[in-house]
């Protein structure tokens, strides 16, 4: 089983982003704080939602999720890309670890980074605003499952990407638009029916909805559907990431 090997590798992945905390943890927290100040405090007082929730509280779960999934994705994608670029991924590929263990090591590293970011933002929001968490265990569950999902997605992109641009492109052209269109800053009630229906096909919308439900005790749509979408995407991405490291597709000749 080589559990020592697996945990050493996982520890390395966590240690990697902790050593670089001013490049990994701090910027995510800072940008979320700026979003909260700019959108929540300055614009929030002018926006009224039909559901009766204060605008600043409404956007906090979305902003948290935005940071969590970005941090998790960036961590595993960049760790693999750096390994490929500097060739030390070869050290990983020759280890007495299974494809499942290697992909899990990368995924856990990314998940922890996403989780630190998510918890950090929620703590800051509790301190700076009147935001409170409705259900702590369920909030933690959504932070972990979404972080895990996007960390696994980062592993997949990291394996396929040939350049740093490719990693950045996925983030800028796919994840970022999907996040903004996933209801971070607005309620779906504000959208025309056509765009509202389109948003239902966006998995990130359901992830944000899940966290909104667990933290505010309010859901725009079915919380059960959020749970199913989160679990499904987590399993699919996890399976693909494991398969890539088991077969060596795109990483072994």
């Amino acid at each position: 089983m080589n559990s020592t090997g697996f945990w050493t590798f996982t520890r390395r992945e966590i240690y990697r982003f902790l050593v670089l905390y001013n490049q990994t943890i701090i910027p995510g927290l800072l940008s979320s704080l700026l979003y909260i100040i700019v959108f929540g405090t300055t614009l929030g007082s002018r926006i009224e939602l039909d559901n009766g929730i204060e605008y600043i509280n409404f956007i906090i779960p979305g902003l948290t999720m935005m940071s969590v999934l970005n941090q998790a994705y960036q961590n595993s994608a960049s760790s693999i890309m750096q390994g490929k670029y500097l060739k030390f991924i070869e050290d990983i590929l020759i280890l007495p670890l299974s494809g499942f263990q290697i992909s899990s090591g990368y995924i856990i590293g990314g998940t922890i980074r996403g989780l630190i970011s998510g918890i950090g933002i929620i703590v800051i929001c509790i301190i700076l605003t009147d935001f409170t968490v409705h259900n702590y265990p369920m909030t933690l569950f959504y932070l972990i499952i979404v972080s895990w999902t996007f960390s696994a997605f980062g592993v997949i992109v990291g394996v396929f990407a040939k350049t740093w641009d490719a990693v950045g492109s996925f983030s800028n052209f796919i994840i970022l638009p999907m996040t903004f269109l996933g209801g971070v800053f607005y309620s779906l009630d504000m959208l025309p029916p056509f765009w509202r229906n389109i948003s239902y096909f966006n998995p990130i919308y359901w992830m944000i909805n899940g966290l909104r439900y667990s933290s505010l005790g309010f859901a725009e749509t079915s919380p059960s559907m959020s749970f199913i979408v989160c679990i499904s995407f987590c399993l699919i991405f996890n399976f693909i990431a494991t398969l890539l490291f088991t077969t060596g597709y795109k990483i072994k000749s």
Binding site: N2, T4, G5, W7, T8, F9, R11, R12, Y15, R16, V19, L20, Q82, L86, K87, F88, E90, D91, I92, L93, I94, L95, P96, L97, S98, G248, K252, S253
Partner: protein, 305 residues
């Protein structure tokens, strides 16, 4: 017992390049084995397949009798690899890199730290333990590569061009160290472009070219069988020598010397000296023993023709 066993190993890369065309190789436990060949011959592909970096197309590879695919978790623990290209983790200090590396192979943290200090001392790197890879010289980085291969104390060491770009002093230091650990029982598989290095270190050698093993055996036998010794006789004058006559040995000449290639120099030398002393006054006789480089060039040239 063989430390490494390879049977009918083939590798065809995507795109159709046939890197290995069915090689067979047995490397005895405890030996210092050289795998030599020109660029693109298939050395790194062979090593890649043994270590799990490259997927084979067909054939069988075993480490200490364990299959490298079925029993990969066992075989990979038995191997320490120092790859051709320097690939050091940029985030951590040398000490951290090595401690992590030992841990990946299942070594507990306390022992991993002890092993790290041991290899750092042995390779003269202890004073650099807190430095990062980018702060080291080329020779130091090369030594860290070797330290990485050794830190989990594997019985088999695979060194792919371990002294490339290393100065002569450090190369000799590494040679002595490798000889020492080989004597202690480690099996070493070495690939190198420095043929002199292989001749000095390896007791057995295989030469690979264009994906095929063209010769394999003890270094001494390969040199004896495949290379020629050279006898250089300096004569006062070459006027009386008829180069068109059919001699029993290969004859060549420079301005004042006769150059004779012979496999059995000690048998031929008396006859040759007696033969030429009748033709002209002998000023000097030099015998240059055959080398592995001769044998290598001859064998790879033969196969290229």
């Amino acid at each position: 017992m063989n430390a490494i066993e390879i049977q009918s190993l083939k590798k065809t890369y995507h795109g159709g390049e046939e890197a290995l065309k069915g090689i067979d190789l047995n490397i005895p436990k405890g030996s210092f084995f050289g795998l030599l060949g020109p660029n693109g011959a298939g050395k790194t592909t062979t090593i890649g397949i043994l270590t799990g970096l490259i997927n084979k197309s067909s054939g069988m590879t075993k480490i200490m009798n364990y299959d490298t695919i079925r029993d990969f978790k066992i075989t990979r623990k038995l191997i320490g690899l120092s790859p051709q290209e320097i690939n050091l983790d940029v985030f951590f200090s040398i000490k951290e890199i090595l401690t992590f590396h030992a841990g990946y192979y299942g070594i507990k943290k306390k022992i991993a730290k002890e092993n790290t200090n041991l290899v750092l001392n042995k390779l003269g790197l202890y004073h650099k333990r807190n430095s990062k890879a980018r702060e080291l010289s080329g020779g130091m980085k090369r030594r860290v590569q070797i330290a990485k291969a050794l830190v989990h104390d594997p019985p088999i060491l695979i060194l792919d061009e371990p002294t490339a770009g290393v100065d002569i002093e450090l190369r000799h230091m590494l040679w002595n160290y490798l000889k020492e650990i080989n004597k202690e029982g480690k099996t070493i598989l070495l690939t190198t472009h420095y043929i002199e290095e292989a001749e000095k270190l390896c007791d057995n050698i295989a030469i690979i070219n264009k994906g095929k093993i063209i010769t394999c055996g003890s270094t001494t036998n390969i040199i004896k069988e495949k290379s020629n010794n050279i006898i250089e006789i300096k004569l006062e004058s070459l006027d009386n020598i008829d180069f068109n006559l059919d001699y029993d040995f290969k004859l060549d000449h420079s301005s004042s010397s006769i150059i004779i290639k012979s496999k059995t120099v000690h048998k031929d030398i008396n006859f040759i000296i007696n033969y030429f002393k009748d033709k002209s006054k002998i000023i000097d006789v030099k015998v240059i023993n055959g080398s592995l480089e001769d044998a290598f060039l001859k064998l790879t040239a033969d196969k290229n023709e």
